[in-house]
Amino acid sequence: MKKKLSFEDGWKVEIRRGILQYAVLAIVRHHTQGIHGYGIARELEDKTDGLLVVKEGTLYPILHRLKKERLLDVSTEPSEAGPRRKVYVLTSEGDRVLRALTVILGDIFEKLEVLRE
């Protein structure tokens, strides 16, 4: 039987999804030559201590969604392990959206800080 999530765990799942899309765009922006899915998962793990990605496979539906929204583009690069592999790059629209989201997030945290005081 599936264990019921605690309130805070459920809340974390809800908030994680939106933040994860932002974090993926931010990571891809640092790689102008493109970064593959595994690289994004590693950076997320290393830089957020695994807070954002619980299961690595759930990253791919998000990458596909961002691609469908034309915020990410895809190209390929040679791979040592086998066939050419896909790398993700930020589009100009993705860059614009990332900047806009950064402003929105800043506002949210600023207002939350006021609430906490």
């Binding site: 593959h36 899915g37 299961k55 690595e56 496979g57 791919y60 539906p61 791979s79 592999r85």
Partner: protein, 160 residues
């Protein structure tokens, strides 16, 4: 390099994911991405621990990737694509046309049977019996092929 035992574990895992997702180009793309990720992660771990048991390592990789149900759930949380909606509309129309054609054939067959037997076979009862057979056969074959049934069309309308 991935050997055949490891490859089988990976392909079984990817097949479980494929079963939970619609049969589409997007699913093929997602499965290809997951396969690349699994290979990268596996090669990375083996590179760090060359003496490790290959099967244990691949199980660890799949554990980190997540259960197929979790990945399918994340996939479904996104908005359905226009192609998927169009495909569902077409499929719904096909199911309704098939239902109308089946009822017409049943009525004609029951009328012919009643005429040939000069009323020995009751028309209403023959329609009912043929209807039960057709519906049972339809559900059985749709279930085997993973196709849509009239109940799915009704459910789809409710969701919409």
């Amino acid at each position: 390099m991935i050997d055949s035992a490891i490859d089988k574990i990976v392909e079984d895992y990817l097949r479980r994911i494929r079963k939970l997702l619609p049969d589409s180009f997007e699913t093929d793309d997602l499965v290809d991405d997951l396969r690349s990720h699994i290979i990268d992660s596996y090669e990375d771990k083996i590179g760090k621990k060359p003496e490790a048991d290959r099967v244990v390592v691949i199980r660890e990789v799949l554990e980190e990737i997540g259960e197929p149900e979790e990945i399918a759930e994340e996939y479904r949380l996104g908005p359905p694509s226009e192609q998927a909606l169009e495909r569902r509309r077409k499929l719904g129309t096909r199911v309704i046309l098939r239902l109308v054609a089946a009822i017409a054939v049943i009525i004609i067959a029951a009328a012919i049977a009643a005429t040939i037997t000069e009323g020995a076979l009751d028309f209403g009862l023959t329609v009912l019996v043929l209807l039960i057979f057709v519906v049972a056969e339809w559900f059985a074959s749709a279930w085997q092929a993973g196709e849509m049934t009239p109940l799915d069309v009704i459910d789809g309308d409710r969701e919409a």
